[in-house]
């Protein structure tokens, strides 16, 4: 049976009907013409636990969710309102045909609830609902403004965090209370009015200055003021949000600030040098990872006594090839594992790494598209399921190796296998018989996708 044809798809559908398997029927549901769905839905609704299960599952196809919303079972509808895969239109249907407060609350929290839907929920007077609406980033500015008059302290803070809040609303919030936590949220907001930002950065409260330091609207002068703040946490926050250039903070006493500094890409050579010999190993770790760190410094850090510093060098995006080879023989397997997942490995380095038996190194090689087939074959037979899964996650693993893994004892590995591009309809059809529902579901999804692709 070839699935990549109309005939093959029909055979797949017939096979699923004959199996009576609800998971396979659910996976095929979105691919079926409307006229044929009913017979598959009879399988899905053959037992009440299946519709409840699919109403809750985030992997459920939208077509099935659209069908499930027509049910009268309150439990199904409650689960749909909480399901992250439920689309806006279904949420709207749920809201229109319900008087259930907890369901309204789920909808108000839902990421797919749009501003119109959220506005319609406002009529239901409930403190929890209002707080959820204030927290939802899709709530429109008009609705937030309407809620302001009766908002509780928690709702005000939620409004101040909401990305839809504008400078007018933030100003009104600031004026409504002297709660420093509320003011801190306002100070961090990208729409914070300049006059409030100026007040925040000069405030006695460290919290306010720290939150203001995260504001992208700070002027250069304000940023410089915060970089010179007496509190390390304010300087750290300012540094975290500073652009890449013109960083000149030598002799910084606080290790937290130096750690933050060591991550920046706008450092000059002198500053990197001083940070690379910092007594705090976290500073050296960040320098080791920093792509602007010169090769000479990386060479020194590659011999650092701290494993995690050497690991940092191994993960440096611009690591020179000779250092890469050197670290492939590091005595610590975690450093070698950092090399094993690099996208720029040479054949010799791969050979060196394959001599070791650490599962982290082997898993890294198993997932690396540069690993030769012969080695992948060995790794695919490893006793550790995570190591074998690495080979399945490798996009370059050929079918000959994936074939071995069709009978992997770990169900998750077989489910992952269904998503590999090299796996064809023959293998997927074999997986339709799998004892694990998630494997059968994934196999049908992959087969259905294959049926839509050109032969």
């Amino acid at each position: 049976m070839t699935v990549a044809s109309e005939n093959g798809f029909s055979q797949l559908a017939e096979r699923i009907l004959a199996s009576g398997d609800a998971y396979q029927a659910a996976a095929l549901h979105p691919w079926l013409p409307m006229s044929e769905r009913l017979v598959f839905e009879q399988i899905i609704f053959s037992h009440r636990r299946y519709p409840r299960l699919f109403a809750q599952a985030s992997f459920s196809p939208v077509s099935l969710i659209e069908r499930l919303v027509q049910e009268s079972d309150g439990l199904i509808l409650d689960k749909l309102a909480k399901n992250s895969a439920t689309p806006t239109a279904v949420l709207r249907q749920l809201a229109e045909h319900s008087q259930n407060q907890s369901r309204f609350l789920s909808i108000a929290k839902h990421a797919n609830a749009d501003s119109v839907l959220l506005a319609s929920l406002d009529a239901h007077d409930s403190a929890a609902l209002h707080e959820a609406i204030c927290n939802n980033p899709n709530t429109g500015l008009a609705q937030l403004s309407l809620l302001l008059a009766t908002a509780s302290s928690g709702e005000r803070k939620a409004m101040a965090r909401n990305p839809q809040a504008n400078s007018g609303l933030l100003l009104a919030l600031w004026q409504s209370s002297d709660d420093v936590y509320l003011q801190a949220e306002i100070a961090a907001h990208s729409e914070c009015p300049p006059e409030l930002l100026a007040l925040a950065i000069s405030n006695d409260q460290v919290l306010l200055r720290r939150k203001a330091a995260a504001n992208p609207g700070l002027s250069k002068v304000q940023l410089a003021q915060l970089l010179g703040d007496c509190e390390a946490q304010v300087r750290t926050a300012a540094l975290r949000h500073l652009g890449a250039k013109n960083i000149q903070l030598i002799n910084e006493p606080a290790r937290r600030v130096r750690r933050e500094l060591a991550r920046k890409t706008g450092l000059d050579k002198q500053l990197i040098e001083s940070l690379s010999i910092d007594e705090d190993n976290w500073v050296r770790r960040w320098v080791a990872r920093n792509p602007v760190t010169p090769e000479a410094i990386l060479r020194v850090l590659a011999k650092d006594g701290e494993v995690e510093v050497r690991r940092g060098v191994a993960r440096n995006a611009l690591l020179p090839e000779n250092l890469c080879r050197e670290l492939a023989t590091d005595p610590d397997s975690w450093v070698r594992a950092g090399i094993a997942i690099r996208p720029d490995l040479g054949v010799d380095t791969i050979r060196q790494l394959s001599c070791h038996d650490s599962i982290d190194v082997l898993a890294g090689l198993g997932r690396n598209p540069l690993t030769p087939v012969k080695l992948l074959m060995q790794i695919a037979r490893h006793s550790d399921r995570d190591v074998r899964r690495a080979v399945i996650l490798n996009p370059q693993t050929p079918l000959s190796i994936l074939q071995i893994l069709l009978e992997d004892p770990y169900p998750l590995n077989r489910a992952q296998l269904c998503r590999h591009a090299a796996v064809g309809s023959t293998q997927l059809l074999q997986l339709l018989e799998d004892p694990e529902p998630q494997v059968r579901f994934s196999a049908v999804q992959a087969l259905a996708e294959l049926s839509q692709s050109p032969e």
Binding site: K82, N83, S84, S106, K109, A111, N135, R210, A232, Q233, A237, R256, R259, R263, W282, R285, W286, R289, V307, G312, R315, S333, W334, A337, G338, A340, I341, S358, I359, D360, A363, G364, R367, D384, R385, D386, R389, A390, L393, Y410, L412
Partner: protein, 320 residues
């Protein structure tokens, strides 16, 4: 009631902590049923473990001198079969360990004993023994009874019973090892990978990160946070699959169970069934996730719907 026999384990001269936990389980049963508790140690120099096994509640310690320094499944199976036949205990407890996996099921089949593995609850319902273990990947707890079995052998999950700290004064007896034909030889001892000195199964406080951290560099930020909080860093499967943290830090079905953990801070972990299998028993789970309906919240004592980076920043400032 017939006595409770506990089989202690040692490796390379060190008594396994699980042995003392099995004794604690036996002593707890003794308090309700009144059975005597007998501990047995098989080793080349079993006398050296007697003092450690002599804790309050143990009535007798049996020493068996082995011809082998290292564990051999044939030696354990045949010796214990002979010992059980002689003593006729009602219940035999052994640690749920790699050693026990090598002999306990075979021993139970040979002697036609009742058997359950990885047990974390044991009680008597009248005269009937009831053991509790997990099934379906820890999704359900199952109570097992053993109708018609005079002797029941259970392998006991580690870190479930608190060791008895008070010392006791048990009787010490010897049992002669029967003549055994070994089917295998000990060649060498390979030290397992060290895990960088970290054993997350023993960690009391865990900070675990999941898919929500987005990028490899962010792992470093959370590792730094875990260090400043004095929490042990763990992760869910996708993080280890990406090679961003070593496998020994992975919590869950294909990772490890954080059996000693009392506070588990789950950051950006949605809560797959596989992950929750390794941590859902923790009494204080604090979950932070942007999705208010993330599965992790169903088992969390405290849930925070928020951006993990915002929470991390506040924690950094608090613990610095």
């Amino acid at each position: 009631m017939a006595e409770i026999l506990v089989i202690a384990e040692q490796r390379r001269g060190e008594l396994a902590a699980a042995s003392l936990e099995c004794i604690a389980a036996a002593v707890e049963l003794k308090q309700s049923g009144g059975q005597s508790v007998v501990a047995c140690i098989i080793a080349q120099n079993p006398e050296s473990y007697v003092a450690l096994l002599s804790v309050a509640g143990v009535d007798e310690v049996i020493t068996v001198t082995s011809v082998e320094a290292e564990f051999q499944s044939d030696i354990f199976a045949e010796t214990l079969q002979a010992l059980i036949e002689q003593r006729q205990p009602g219940l035999v407890l052994v640690p749920h360990s790699i050693d026990a996996w090598g002999y306990a099921p075979a021993l139970a089949v040979r002697g036609q004993y009742g058997f359950a593995s990885d047990v974390f609850g044991i009680r008597y319902d009248g005269d009937d023994l009831v053991a509790t273990r997990a099934a379906y990947a820890e999704k359900v707890h199952v109570e097992i009874d053993f109708p018609g079995r005079q002797i029941v052998l259970l392998t006991v999950r580690g870190n479930t019973w608190k060791q008895v700290e008070e010392s006791g004064n048990p009787q010490i007896t010897e049992f002669a090892m029967p003549a055994i034909t070994k089917r295998s030889n000990h060649e060498t001892f390979l030290e397992p990978a060290s895990g960088g000195g970290v054993d997350i199964t023993q960690a009391e406080f865990m900070l675990s990160i999941g898919r929500g951290i987005d990028e490899e560099d962010n792992v470093e930020q959370f590792a730094e946070l875990a260090e400043s909080m004095e929490f042990t860093l763990g992760c869910s499967r996708p993080i280890a699959d990406n090679g961003w943290l070593p496998k020994y830090r992975q919590v869950g079905q294909s990772g490890k169970t954080v059996s000693s953990c009392s506070i588990y801070l789950a950051l950006g972990i949605s809560g797959s069934v596989q992950h929750m299998a390794g941590m859902k028993h923790v009494p204080n789970i604090i979950a932070v996730n942007t999705d208010p309906e993330a599965s992790i919240f169903s088992i969390a004592r405290y849930g925070v719907v928020a951006d993990i980076f915002d929470i991390a920043e506040e924690l950094e400032n608090h613990f610095d």
